[in-house]
């Protein structure tokens, strides 16, 4: 390895994440309606395959997609996703940790009972999400069943913070 190679590596180290905007956070959202339809085998909509493991302990036999989306949100910005006619999801990434964790505020709101009032905060939580380790919220009534909201951060996007600097330096 010659001097130029060392220079490139040292330069890439020096050009850290501090001199560029932190990359946005990708968050996969699955809003699932869970019902009990007295099936012999549990049924999952095919689109729910990535989060099936996060659902299979629930005492329901039917899992249908209500809404799926992948949000790309910058740190300290809030994204809103309408889950159905009743519930809306708000996600706000706060920070990305060295471990790959993303701290974020998650909130679900529903319309007020009376017009003119503020929306009702169904729940609000702050979580530290590990890549590939989902989070879920359960217990929201939805028609004949319940609404389950599953959030997940893809593992491949978890540690991308420094790589763009390196790639650009090696170009």
């Amino acid at each position: 390895m010659n001097l130029a190679g060392f220079t490139v590596i040292i330069g890439a180290l020096l050009v850290g994440p501090g001199d560029e905007a932190p990359p946005p956070v990708r968050i996969a959202v699955y809003a699932v309606q869970v019902t009990d339809e007295h099936r012999e085998e549990k049924y999952y909509d095919p689109v729910l395959r990535p989060v099936r493991r996060a659902l299979d302990d629930l005492k329901f036999d039917t899992f249908r997609e209500v809404r799926t989306a992948t949000l790309t949100v910058s740190l300290n910005e809030e994204a809103r996703l309408k889950l159905d006619s009743k519930f809306a999801l708000f996600v706000k990434p706060l920070s990305r940790e060295q471990t790959g964790h993303v701290r974020l505020d998650v909130r679900v709101e529903m319309p007020p009972k009376k017009p003119g009032q503020k929306p009702i905060k169904v729940f609000s939580t702050r979580i530290s999400m590990a890549p590939g380790k989902p989070f879920r919220a359960c217990g929201l009534k939805l028609q004949e069943g319940e609404l389950v909201v599953v959030l997940s951060i893809p593992e491949t996007a978890a540690r991308s913070g420094r790589l763009p600097s390196l790639r650009r330096a090696l170009r």
Partner: protein
């Protein structure tokens, strides 16, 4: 040491430059100081001769001498250039490894779990709890006692 007035004569005689060699010789035989001075001069000359004498290898020493030369030629000698190359290569590998660790390592022990730090609800009559599923999925549970809320 006591000096004798013959000292200069002794030195000249020792160097073969004294015109009064017979008298100097007789004096040296009688004067202890000059005899001692003569001994010192002789010792100095002997030492200088030894220092300037070139080492010569005598015939019986030649076989051992050439054996040493052959052995030295036959043994590969690691030059300084090789040592420097080895040291440079090691340093380069170390720096590259540290760079990769810094770039791709987390710097902390990885924490693989998703953690719920806090949660709350504004629903009247609702309670909120957290737990982990059997698969280790952190879960927020909202339990509503008033059916009309929903």
């Amino acid at each position: 040491m006591r000096n004798c007035r013959w000292t200069k004569d002794i030195e000249r005689w020792f160097d073969g430059e004294s015109p009064r060699a017979d008298r100097v010789q007789r004096h040296v035989a009688e004067c202890a100081a000059c005899a001692a001075q003569l001994e010192r001069l002789q010792a100095l000359r002997d030492g200088a001769t030894d220092a300037t004498r070139r080492e010569e290898i005598q015939d019986p020493q030649f076989p051992a001498f050439f054996d040493g030369i052959r052995e030295a030629i036959g043994t590969p000698r690691r030059g300084r250039g090789g040592l420097w190359a080895l040291a440079s290569g090691s340093a380069a590998a170390l720096i590259a490894a540290m760079s990769l660790i810094v770039m791709f390592g987390s710097g902390h022990a990885p924490v693989d779990a998703t953690v719920i730090e806090s949660c709350s609800t504004d629903l009247e009559g609702a309670s909120i709890t957290t737990s982990d599923s059997k698969n280790g999925v952190p879960t927020v549970w909202i339990t509503v006692t008033q059916d009309d809320v929903w």
